[in-house]
């Protein structure tokens, strides 16, 4: 996406974040049908159509600079949003390589990377960063490799070590999360990490997902979409900061839901890393207000129906209980009962 960056928009306090009409059209709606239930909806992370959020390995959009600034604010207050166990250093370097190579290849106007053996030269023009360093030598970077590179990328990153037939959450940069904590989940196995998710364990979703991911192959990344809702365009909805944002849920009414309530979609990508044999789990968050959503008639009808019929356990787990009805009421006038075409495209 080549749209101009909006460096000054905010994800806290005055919440000036907005989507341009182009950003709305490319929003990754996660509902191909009018109702929703979990599935192992994993697909190859192949390049999507030009302009779509999956055109490239890592999407850089109009919010890039603002999201990187927001990340710095979170990290300044809570340094533990980045953590890495010592044995994850080679995975950190692998992840740095993946992100830098992808950005430089896909957005040559914004980023460039030149490599001469282990001597690397990285330029990030939007953030005005230039760095020469020795790949593999952490002393030549101002921060640990994942910490360094994730501050220059949108979305969260978790590195999972593979051993003993499991994936272990042992490094990460997590500042744009939907109410989960890296600090709490560090060292957990794949199923422990996903322990709080209702219904999915009974459906054996995690057995199948784990088995699939243990065999994830080099050069064959996969992706899936997940979703929830967030009151105000707040990226950092962490358990640590619950007092700051939890109360927002009580502020939603059928009158203000259009501007307050946002669909929060995660584009999750998974890559096998070459030297470490670890897996990187990227979680990229997209926000869309109900008023922005309603500019696409098909999406307004669909989301109205999805929310209206959502399984009670999911309403609860996704934290929608207090305001789901208000959102359904706000969306109702946009749903005249016309059938929707299948798939997620605007129409």
């Amino acid at each position: 996406m080549s749209a101009a960056f909006k460096p000054h928009e905010t994800f806290r306090d005055d919440f000036t974040f907005r989507n341009s009409p182009e950003a709305i059209r490319r929003f990754p709606l996660p509902f191909p049908e009018d109702d929703y239930m979990y599935s192992v909806n994993i697909e190859p992370h192949l390049p999507g159509p030009p302009g779509s959020v999956t055109e490239f390995a890592f999407d850089v959009d109009e919010h890039y600079i603002a999201e990187c600034r927001e990340r710095e604010i979170v990290l300044a207050a809570e340094p533990l949003r980045f953590q890495a166990l010592p044995h994850m250093m080679s995975a950190q370097w692998d992840c740095l390589e993946l992100i830098m190579e992808s950005l430089a290849r896909d957005y040559p106007g914004h980023f460039s990377l030149s490599r001469r053996g282990n001597q690397w030269h990285w330029i990030n023009r939007p953030l005005d960063i230039e760095q020469r360093f020795t790949f593999g030598d952490a002393a030549t970077l101002p921060r640990q490799p994942l910490d360094y590179v994730a501050r220059q990328a949108q979305g969260d990153f978790v590195l999972m070590d593979q051993r003993d037939g499991d994936l272990w959450t042992e490094a990460g940069m997590v500042t744009t999360q939907a109410d989960w904590s890296l600090d709490f989940d560090m060292g957990m196995t794949f199923k422990e990490w996903h322990g709080p998710v209702p219904l999915a364990h009974e459906l054996q979703v995690f057995d199948r997902a784990l088995k699939f991911l243990l065999n994830l192959r080099l050069g064959k990344p996969v992706r899936r979409l997940n979703w929830t809702m967030t009151v105000n365009p707040r990226l950092d909805t962490s358990p640590e900061n619950y007092p700051a944002w939890g109360k927002d849920r009580a502020s939603v009414t059928a009158q203000n839901a259009g501007d307050r309530v946002h669909l929060r979609v995660e584009l999750q990508g998974l890559w096998r890393l070459p030297r470490s044999n670890a897996v990187v789990f990227g979680i990229r968050c997209y926000l869309l207000s109900m008023r922005e959503l309603a500019t696409v008639p098909k999406w307004a009808r669909r989301v109205h129906r999805v929310l209206k019929n959502l399984h009670p356990a999911l309403v609860d787990y996704k934290g929608l209980a207090r305001y789901r009805d208000a959102v359904v009421e706000w969306l109702a006038p946009f749903d005249d009962g016309t059938p929707t075409t299948s798939g997620c495209a605007p129409e």
């Binding site: 044995h87 994850m88 692998d94 070590d161 593979q162 051993r163 003993d164 065999n215 192959r217 080099l218 050069g219 064959k220 070459p274 030297r275 470490s276 044999n277």
Partner: protein, 320 residues
């Protein structure tokens, strides 16, 4: 994995390192670098012979940080169905082969406090790559390498250079044997053991470790089975609506592929579980040669790993 994802390589080095083992160096035809990998990874080498295609897994023995070429060691198998004979007899300097991206089913445990590596014969190859990573780290290790006789000690110079006094070599010809029991009795807590070699050696190490109280999570092994020769049989692929004939010296997976039906695979050696296929119906007996299916899976008779397993049957119907 399918053949669509292969990398074309050229053989740029061949060395007969023991009477039975040849050492091949493979460089990308397109130039540049091959994909980075981790120690313990293997590749599938696709060999297009005159009458048939062989696809064999070989561990990468070269250094994971040297990506201009990959190195593999190939032992001539006595009862080869042709793959190792093809590599030994038909492949020359400049021959072109195809390989698949590396896959690692035998990585080192990154939180181990010590590694004990046990190799028999050609089973040394994955450890050669491991040594590169180990020498960067601070975790102690020891390598025990058992061979028939000094002339069969493949890669011994390289091993001595990399492992120094952490290497111990045992010659059958001099009645030297690894005392696995003594070795595993005296290791510090947090040690992991890795074994790669003949089936008997792997079984012995696993059994000894278990009886000495080692947890399963600390015992690692890799053994690629060559698909065994067996009786001919027929399989009907229900979704594709074709019958394939499986001759004695060809695997079920190879026969299915020859019929133009794709089955996803990773190791082709009965280890990874990727090619697991549902058995719709069998009138006869499944002969499981894999290391993946549990005893419960086998007794149910609903799954087969076509890379190495066969059937002795009047009919076999697969969900393919």
């Amino acid at each position: 994995m399918t053949d669509a994802e292969i990398i074309a390589v050229e053989v740029i080095g061949i060395e007969q390192v023991t009477p039975l083992i040849k050492h091949f160096t493979l460089a990308p035809l397109a130039g540049g670098s091959l994909p980075a990998f981790s120690g313990g990874s293997h590749i599938i080498v696709v060999m297009r012979g005159a009458s048939r295609v062989h696809r064999n897994p070989y561990s990468l023995l070269s250094a994971p940080h040297e990506l201009g070429s990959y190195e593999i060691g190939v032992r001539r198998m006595e009862e080869s169905r042709g793959g190792s004979h093809f590599m030994h007899d038909a492949v020359r300097l400049g021959s072109r082969l195809e390989i698949a991206h590396p896959v690692n089913l035998f990585g080192l445990d990154k939180i181990a406090r010590k590694h004990v590596l046990i190799a028999g014969g050609i089973g040394i190859t994955p450890f050669l790559a491991h040594l590169e990573d180990l020498n960067y780290g601070t975790v102690p290790y020891e390598l025990h390498y058992s061979v028939r006789s000094p002339e069969h000690a493949a890669f011994i110079e390289r091993l001595r250079r990399r492992a120094g006094d952490r290497l111990r070599v045992y010659h059958d010809s001099e009645a030297q044997a690894i005392d696995v029991e003594a070795l595993l009795m005296m290791q510090p807590l947090g040690t992991h053991v890795y074994v790669c070699g003949p089936a008997g050696m792997i079984k012995h190490v696993i059994a000894t470790a278990k009886s000495a109280g080692w947890p399963d999570s600390h015992i690692h092994w890799e053994q690629f089975s060559a698909p065994p020769v067996g009786e001919a049989f027929d399989a009907f692929l229900a979704r594709s609506n074709v019958t394939v004939h499986v001759p004695p010296d060809r695997s079920l997976l190879e026969s299915i592929e020859a019929a133009g039906v794709e089955v996803p695979y990773l190791c082709r050696g009965g280890v990874c579980g990727f090619c697991r296929t549902r058995v719709v119906e069998v009138d006869g007996e499944l002969i499981h040669n894999d290391h993946f299916l549990s005893d419960a899976d086998r007794s149910q008779g609903r799954s087969i790993m076509p890379c190495v397993s066969r059937a002795r049957c009047r009919s076999l119907v697969l969900d393919l």
